[in-house]
Symmetry: C2
Subunit: 352 residues, 2 copies
DNA sequence: TTGTATGCGTTATCAG
DNA sequence: CTGATAACGCATACAA
């Protein structure tokens, strides 16, 4: 308990307890065997001095750091924040510590972060890869013996376990439901960056979760209709989204419903619609991914595709823990159901 | 570049480059001096083998981990998420890595996390202490040579640098402004947990930021009026907040404005008001702390006390970096201005 | 400029 | 059950 300024080592405790370094290390490290008497003496000494084990030295010695690394696109996004929470909760329960970092959805940054984490000797990596066409850094991590789990985003061929939503099926079902409500022209709005403002081809989408959603969206298109032109990209920031909404509203025949690919896009679309005096759902329906706080606060509340994100994180942590524990076998792809939460923003198409 | 399965060490690189371990270590570690020729040979060998330095071993050797630890109340709260982002951004720029953890606003958990972080040899700690009456663990960290910076929450007497808002002054000014708008009965709603549903005394509030806000709130009370009864506590979760709003609405004479102590409380209060058909600001005004996403999405948009949270984080990181760099001197208390962003939810009191 | 030898704080092996 | 002593991977004082 005594405050001190120099770091104490097992040697110091050993000296105080009048035992050898090895014995002190045994009781402090909780391994090997010692008599009850010496055990107590050592613990007492450690207590008195205020000894605190050096985990780094322990890691170097054992080769196990007890660390797992996490790379997300944006910790400020509630989706990732909650996922991180899920990861942390189950990792900590398993005695693992977590290092979190932010790629900002930038590939170069992601590479750099993975490298840093590997140098920190993380025993496993949970990543939301920003570009599933360029995952050499992840493959290399796996090749060098550090297991990788992707979260929210499955990467075909990488061989890493992945936790993600049932994006394609859920979207197809959602669009079918919307068509039953009379919606014939639906727009999809996403933050994915492309050269043109509309999607040219699915291959432009390097994030599987979004690609699958769009695939589900396109699969619902009636024969002969090209829905690609209904997929609006580059929806990053208020100005861009406002412009997209403006474009949408001036189309003829009019779009009657909007799908927002994440909760940030959803919020801005809602705002742009409100600002223009568009009534939801009378004039326009809106559905967004992720049940963010704001979705239930607006009037009307917003229909969302609920992603059980905390569970995404928990499952990802479970997977990485299993792999760290030596589990072998082919990559496991876990698809989590993402049920629709129906709220006021989704209604019948106008005039239907 | 070659994939391998065993971890490589300087020794391996040295062997491949046909130099001594020390020489290899020098060029790989970027210290000491070497000839250009051997330098290139070593780098080439490292490249070929796919060598990756072990930062933990380096840390043990140098005594510097390059890590700073962060303990926040809730990473899912946008306030903390953004603060963490600010911390990470400037820490990384200074070559430091960040370990983030969640106390869940639980003191025991906070203590445990601080302990874990210290064992991980973090060189500094940035903490949002959940109880400023019990900071022995932080004092101990400082005493043992690990500097501490508190964020959002100043702790008197701890001796740690602190970054926080100008809570008291900003609140007093805000309340004055509201009084000028005719509001005579204002309620303050906070998630702070107390035995009773109303605040009995300021000392019950163990988080300085909130205490200061309430102090500012109370200081605006006209002589003879006890505003304590207007401070509603335990506002955690939708049900509790709904009950508080219900109580508020049934008071006579009626409350005409509500202050929500954080953005989660604010969102739920807004929702509870909407659900009851209360018109903002015609029947009730609302002001919340933190400019969360949802604040600009509602109709009307919500007036907020803007906390430049990314800057909170950046400044906290700067402080901890300075202290790690050896800066001495008394604890620095930096108060950041938190300007009001006036939006539709704040209007004149009804009938004024 | 390079190599040798030792230390960092821990674990872990091996006698005693 | 305990105590020397050698790792772990890297840094560093000192010698060559």
């Amino acid at each position: 308990m005594t405050a001190r300024n120099k770091k104490l080592t097992v040697a110091d405790v050993a000296r105080a307890a009048k035992v050898s370094k090895a014995t002190a290390a045994r009781v402090l490290g909780g391994y090997g065997v010692t008599s009850e008497r010496t055990r107590e003496a050592v613990l007492q000494a450690a207590q008195d001095l205020g000894y605190r084990p050096n985990e780094l030295a322990r890691s170097v010695s054992t080769g196990r750091s007890g660390l797992i690394g996490v790379v997300v696109g944006d910790i400020e996004n509630a989706f990732f924040a909650r996922a991180v929470r899920g990861i942390s909760d189950t990792a900590r329960a398993a005695g693992l510590n977590v290092i979190i970092s932010n790629s900002g959805e930038d590939l170069a940054q992601e590479r750099a972060l993975v490298s840093v984490l590997l140098r920190q000797q993380v025993q496993g990596l949970i990543v939301a890869p920003t570009d599933d066409g360029d995952v050499a850094h992840l493959a290399e991590a796996m090749a060098s013996g550090t297991p990788v789990v992707t979260i929210d985003r499955w990467v075909e061929g990488l061989g890493a376990d992945g936790i993600c939503g049932d994006d394609r099926a859920a979207t197809a079902a959602l669009v079918a439901q919307m068509q039953a409500l009379g919606h014939r022209r639906i727009a999809y709005v996403t933050a994915i960056r492309t050269p043109q403002p509309r999607l040219q081809s699915l291959a432009q989408v390097r994030i599987a979760a979004v690609r699958e959603r769009i695939a589900g969206f396109l699969s619902a298109a009636p024969a002969g209709q090209d829905w690609h032109e209904r997929v609006h990209t580059n929806a990053t920031g208020a100005a861009a989204i406002d412009a997209i909404v403006a474009r949408l509203l001036s189309e003829t025949p009019g779009v009657t419903a909007i799908l927002a690919s994440d909760s940030l896009v959803g919020a801005e679309v809602f705002r742009a619609l409100s600002a223009r005096g568009i009534a939801l759902p009378a004039q326009m329906s809106l559905v967004a991914w992720f049940d963010a706080d704001w979705s239930r606060v607006t009037v009307p509340a917003v229909t969302v595709v609920d992603q059980p994100t905390h569970r995404f994180g928990a499952l990802a942590a479970e997977r990485i823990i299993a792999r760290i524990g030596g589990e072998t076998g082919p990559a496991r792809h876990q698809r989590i159901e993402t049920p629709l939460i129906r709220r006021g923003s989704l209604g019948p198409a106008p005039g239907d």
